[in-house]
Symmetry: C2
Subunit: 306 residues, 2 copies
Amino acid sequence: MSSFCITILGSSGALPAYGRHPSAQLIEIQNRYFLVDCGEAVQIQLMRYQANLHRINHIFISHLHGDHYLGLMGLIFTMHLQKRQSDLHLYSHRGLDEIITTQFKYSHSAPGFKIIFHRLEKDKREIIFEDDKVTVETIPLHHKITCSGFLFREKPKPRRIDKTRLPPGLLLQHMASLKKGEDIVDDEGNLLYKNQDLTLSPRRSRSYAYCSDTAYFEKMIPQIQGVDLLYHESTFTVDESQKAIETKHSTAAQAATIAKKAGAAKLLLGHFSARYKDLTPLLEEAKEIFDNTLLATEGEQFTIAD
Amino acid sequence: MSSFCITILGSSGALPAYGRHPSAQLIEIQNRYFLVDCGEAVQIQLMRYQANLHRINHIFISHLHGDHYLGLMGLIFTMHLQKRQSDLHLYSHRGLDEIITTQFKYSHSAPGFKIIFHRLEKDKREIIFEDDKVTVETIPLHHKITCSGFLFREKPKPRRIDKTRLPPGLLLQHMASLKKGEDIVDDEGNLLYKNQDLTLSPRRSRSYAYCSDTAYFEKMIPQIQGVDLLYHESTFTVDESQKAIETKHSTAAQAATIAKKAGAAKLLLGHFSARYKDLTPLLEEAKEIFDNTLLATEGEQFTIAD
């Protein structure tokens, strides 16, 4: 079993309210730890949920509205004070490097580790992180300022060896061939075993899309088609549709419509306006359109099964 | 009865821990609301303790280490989103204006109210706020970067009219004369009543000194002599004296020594290092030297009696 887990650190819209904190999520995929957005007090939320902040090496900031990045500086100062050594990669649209370096300048200090800024391209899909197991790509969104969502995907996985059918005497190199989907042949190239007789199909590659902040925006649908889990902002209920249009946010019904059209397996709602103390109306509105919907509130963990 | 009340919003040192938040205090003097320092999540703390953030018109930042100002931007964004109209005065050493304007620039917005930056002078006492009832002056401190404490003082108060001894037939102008300490005379200048026969002495003028962050620094003593309430940072216990010297912070014993030498009436300890889960050792260490000492932890309110 390998892990794929999202922990909600903040679920509020621009104004924190009722114990809800601004946007932040911790995403763990096979022992890689990513942060997506860094609302104010994210370091306090990480401590609350017992996350080890030094395992976080990549932080993705959707856009430079305060409720999505104001916790970053405190987190970085804390990493610095706790003697972090390893590089920290920050992904953002233009400006984050200036915001951070200005603050280090006036604190008369410099981080004891390397910060690597990656500037996101405006209105363009791009792969911004890739290793042997995972890719992260940007999802262009439609908001008041340039804003990107993020799509986390596992890479295709190897075929699984069926231990119940394994003949004796196989070598390590044979096992590697099987995982790659190759048959086993002898030195002369003669077939010894067909791959399909000794292996099971690979586990599926899981995916998670984070889409916040955005107005209703159908252009994202092809990119997130069939995603296992979709987090889509739902700042308002449908009776505040006009407000949603003005502020370039979405209603719960719009989030659910995107989930349905994209064939997502599950939908998470978040980025709730401070006008809602009780979030049930948002959940019910979405479930009318897309039943498999949940509220992404502080401390909730969502695991995507293997 | 007029009010003079300090609410502790944050008591931690640079690293938040055990539910303690970075430095911030709300100070209310006769319906004037001041913030001193603005550690991360100060807006959330203000909401927690049901403070009306729109009544705050003056914010004093001691120095530009993150744990003393990182909550300011979130607070300002929230004031902006909540349609604040009135001016906001910010007092800080060099850099805060650049930090704030850079962040507004990249959020592609501008505050809907006027922000007036007041740059504090380095290593110099100065009166930075004054109205008919209150003055605020800076207290030069000794820290790793330029840092000022703040001394809040009520102005001298008028004599109080003793209603039990008031003769009939006095006019409004007579009352005003009495409050000023003048005798009451008739149109020819003849004495009708001596002031001291109809009035009581004025209530005393109360004072509060906020001294954080600082190493042990006796130069502050003359300025804070006889203060009613002294908040002095006590990051460490005495067994971490070497660490206090290196980081230019104080021990609890040093805070108590300053309180004693300054003849303060009461001492508050704060800015506690994350190494202390239990704060009792800090309190006991200070009380050995200066008995009237209290811990300034989150949510505590300290009132100075009239």
